[in-house]
Subunit: 431 residues, 3 copies
């Protein structure tokens, strides 16, 4: 049984590295294709060794087609004095993502249908996209909109939408087994910190930790644009070895955890995540699968049925800052990222070490006293007795932990002590 170096880096170090990386990535204008996404993956590739894939526009991927590549250099609304009233350089959310180019002078009346703001959240810029229908527009705060005046305005979106490629990054960390754990995170959202810089940077930290270990499972990390990215990956790659998976998103805010279960509902990953959450000190909620949300929709589609859950803190659509400029670097905290990192490590730890054992003295209890196994805390003795009692081959350590209502780590430790004492052996080779 391998041991992952749990203490390196510490969760606080991992959280601080995550914050630094998020700060570096925030200004880049990401989309589902284009240079912003490409630049983001280049930076991630500096942290962990990614394979970067470029998939040409027009490629058929399952029921979809890879769209044209979108790039943007500048965008603004200027008044008659040439002052930028709305300026893409200040915030990449100001332009509807995938806006076609515009260069025109227009009245307020002509501009109005292309303006988007949030009356109920007057200081926030909304996040809007138009990937599959050609359109253009500006997203502004309600205050900006009110102060615009009547024009005429000089309106410019210096973008391009033409054949190119869709970019995604992939990292496979091979383990002693070919069975894979998929970690998928979307990289297409501009500016916003919780959704989904938090998912990106924590995936990087988890990958770094696993790269420093010799894991049992193989770990596949996907850094992909939402929806079209997972569809593209599924179309072009072999997903048949994926045994467990998590979509990571919205993991940096101060809220409790939200786990959205797989379509199956009682997959191993569902049980593992719930077990780990039940022993964290953070409140949490577990939600049934619904075919709405992030890329888990694609992984859990009936043609793949991959057991991929979704781990979040405040869930998509479930916090007021969601998909606005208020989901910024102030909205994510070191403590929240550290806690999320700890849960991810705990989940990996269970999957790395779960397995069934055989009690080698199954008739009655073996005499613990003569093996110096009895004189410890009562909980530890109870863990030993549970492992002995249930290790008839039908129960894994996770099964035992669930039934004993004890943490997996304690049950695993008991199994190690019993194995060392010659009272237990792995049912199969757990390496």
């Amino acid at each position: 049984m391998n041991t992952l170096p749990l203490a390196e880096p510490s969760s606080v170090e991992a959280a601080e590295a995550s914050l630094a990386l998020a700060r570096e990535l925030q200004p880049i204008c990401r989309s589902i294709t284009g240079d912003g996404l490409r630049e983001t993956l280049r930076i991630l590739n500096r942290e962990v060794p990614l394979t970067i894939r470029e998939v040409p526009s027009g490629t058929q991927v399952l029921d979809w087609t890879v769209p044209n590549e979108w790039n943007i250099r500048d965008a603004y609304i200027k008044n008659g004095r040439g002052e930028r009233l709305v300026d893409f350089q200040k915030c990449s959310l100001h332009v509807i993502n995938y806006s076609v180019p515009v260069k025109a002078t227009m009245t307020r009346g002509e501009l109005e249908p292309h303006l988007h703001s949030l009356p109920n959240r007057p200081t926030a810029i909304p996040y809007k996209t138009s990937y599959y229908r050609e359109a253009w527009g500006f997203c502004v705060t309600e205050q900006q909109r009110e102060a615009l005046g009547d024009g005429p305005f000089e309106v410019c979106i210096d973008s391009s939408l033409k054949p190119g490629t869709l970019t995604y990054g992939e990292l496979l960390i091979p383990g002693s087994r070919k069975d894979e754990f998929l970690v998928s995170t979307h990289c297409c959202h501009p500016y916003m910190a919780n959704d989904n810089l938090s998912g990106i940077v924590l995936s990087v930290q988890l990958a770094k930790r696993l790269l420093n270990s010799q894991p049992r499972l193989s770990y596949r990390f996907l850094f992909i644009p939402g929806t079209i990215g997972s569809i593209t990956w599924l179309a072009l790659n072999d997903s048949s070895r994926i045994r467990h998976g998590l979509v990571l998103a919205c993991l940096g805010d101060a809220g409790g955890f939200t786990y959205k279960k797989t379509r199956l509902g009682d997959a191993v990953i569902d049980r593992v995540v719930q077990h780990c959450l039940s022993y964290s000190k953070t409140p949490y909620a577990v939600r049934d699968f619904i075919p709405y949300g992030y890329d888990e929709r694609q992984y859990n589609s009936p043609g793949f049925k991959l057991p991929v859950g979704t781990l979040m803190r405040s869930p998509n659509g479930g916090y007021a800052q969601y998909h606005t400029s208020d989901d910024n670097l102030d909205f994510i905290t070191r403590d929240a990222l550290a806690g999320s990192y700890e849960i991810l490590c705990a989940i990996v730890d269970v999957l790395e070490h779960d397995g069934a054992y055989l009690n080698l003295k199954p008739r009655g209890e073996p005499q613990l006293g003569k093996r110096n196994l009895y004189d410890r805390a009562q909980d530890d003795t109870l863990a030993l007795l549970w492992v002995l009692n249930l290790s008839d081959g039908a129960f894994s350590l996770l099964d035992i932990a669930e039934r004993a209502k004890l943490p997996f780590t304690q049950i695993r430790h008991a199994a190690q002590r019993l194995t060392a004492a010659g009272l237990l052996r792995p049912l199969v080779n757990h390496e």
Copy 2:
């Protein structure tokens, strides 16, 4: 897939027709045999094309024997001045159903053991029967009983009990499948409106609606005397094609619904009824099967095990007016009958249209936008996604509706849209 003409008649029209028919039927003195039952079935036959069966007294039916036929022309208790103190012509409940003939002068003391009243409900006449033990008696209000005086009385029950036939009515509406839905209602109760004129008249309305459609299932309606009628039918007919069934009773009062499950407990009919009730605006209760109640006792007996539930509003024995003259035409309302009719139509609608489909683009989500399937209310989109996600052959539309927590009609509509868009096909021919 066939469409039932849900709007014709409207539930209010059906309820008004039900009330009119109930008014016509109320004065007839029904019993488990005899001319009252025969006359009732003759009137029903005017509404829907019944096959009327006459089964001779003495016929062995399962463990039972068809009893002698009972008829009654008149009955009364007269005082010395020839005044009718108790008069069968005023209310058929005044005579114990199946009373043997009596013609005698007697004292109050002699009459007393043959009088039945309800001390706790002094203005109501109780409903009493003595089918399988020869007896006679009068049912009176507590007030009548107190005012009777000491007699002598002229006591007359002008009835006959002799070999004849047991009568029942049957209607089979053939569907495109031979699988049958059984609707069974007892027709033996005199006078009382909720138990069970309401069941009789709603069965007629439901049959009328189905006669105007080309249903998928075959529908078998039984209008039978309670207990001996279902036993007779089961003895003499083939019940092997019955896949679902409902006993209808007590459906006209203002109470919420009561559904009594089949012996199986999770039969399709149990799930369908509960699904429909959960989306009605009327409160409802679901009860486990017990071998006590109406004809469901016979259908659910171990030699048949037919999945027949019982749909009621206030259940048998569960309302103060039960089996008294207070269960009269004032006790049933147009609104209650309309609501009961709606639920019956909804139940039929689910059973007519349930079935499993195959997602023809099961790998990932098909792109809804390019098919103009995305720009609707969010619930509608979610219904589409649920149908796509679960249509792997293992789940029926009802399964999907239950899991999605959406009404069957919405799930069915989503399936129709997806089928029209070429994204779905029925797993088997659902015609």
Copy 3:
């Protein structure tokens, strides 16, 4: 079907006999071996015909070894004036059970590490043992300890620990079937009344009752030292015919019942005990199996998996007097013992009479009226109908009682009436 003579002895008579036997047994200094245990079994053998087994020290039993035999004649701590400050003759708990011999004069400082008391329960003597590690010591009240003074003390434990035998008693009451019901009770605790004189004396009463019957099951009673006794029995005997079992302990206090389920969790014994408890008037709690407690640990170990539950009132460790001198004869009551005896009889009664029947008239309901089976209390009629409805071979009387929510005795009585009426027959010979 046999009938156990339920009324002989009455539960009050059984409780009074239990109390008398407990009073006789209390002064004997029991341990896991030795003359105290041997004397206890000799007295039990006077009540019921035991087979007494002597297993030599050093015998390998499963993973354990039968320890040396311990005997004790006297023990005390005397002051300088020769007064016994602590006196084994007054209470056998004063010496740590299995203390090695000591005869020395020592200071308070030398004695101190060998003194045990309960600061939170200053008037109680704790119960302590040291079976598998050689040690000696005195258990005293907190008050005795404070009053001891500085010494020097004359300290004596006149014990012996040397090769001998481990003694246990066994009684097999053969039934018409070879399937066994195991009743196991530990006999190693000195002095204490609830734990476990109550278990011992109630086992004797239950055995007496069964000896006076011709039971269907075979009943095996074990009177054994805790842990090493069940391990020894399992090592040396054939347990393969045990179908149900109960460990009896702590059954004399005034608390409600505690039933600890078998490892299986839904064994027949689990269902039977819960059924009986649900109809007793005493509050009760049901606990899941954990591999900690009494001899059920050994029976439920993975190499045996015997379905043995544990019936207690206040559970081990769950009452303040537990394992102290306050668990004395005042702590157990006649009423509590009588109630425990009644539950034991009820449990046996269900296991003796459970079985599946076949409804011989399964098509519809048989006509109860013509067989004079209908004119009883409504509950009795309902019991008849439930038995008829579910007697298709798939349901036992216990299954029916659980589903009907009626007591087993009522369901069994209904089955008897129906069998007598020719409507039912046992699916297999229940004798």
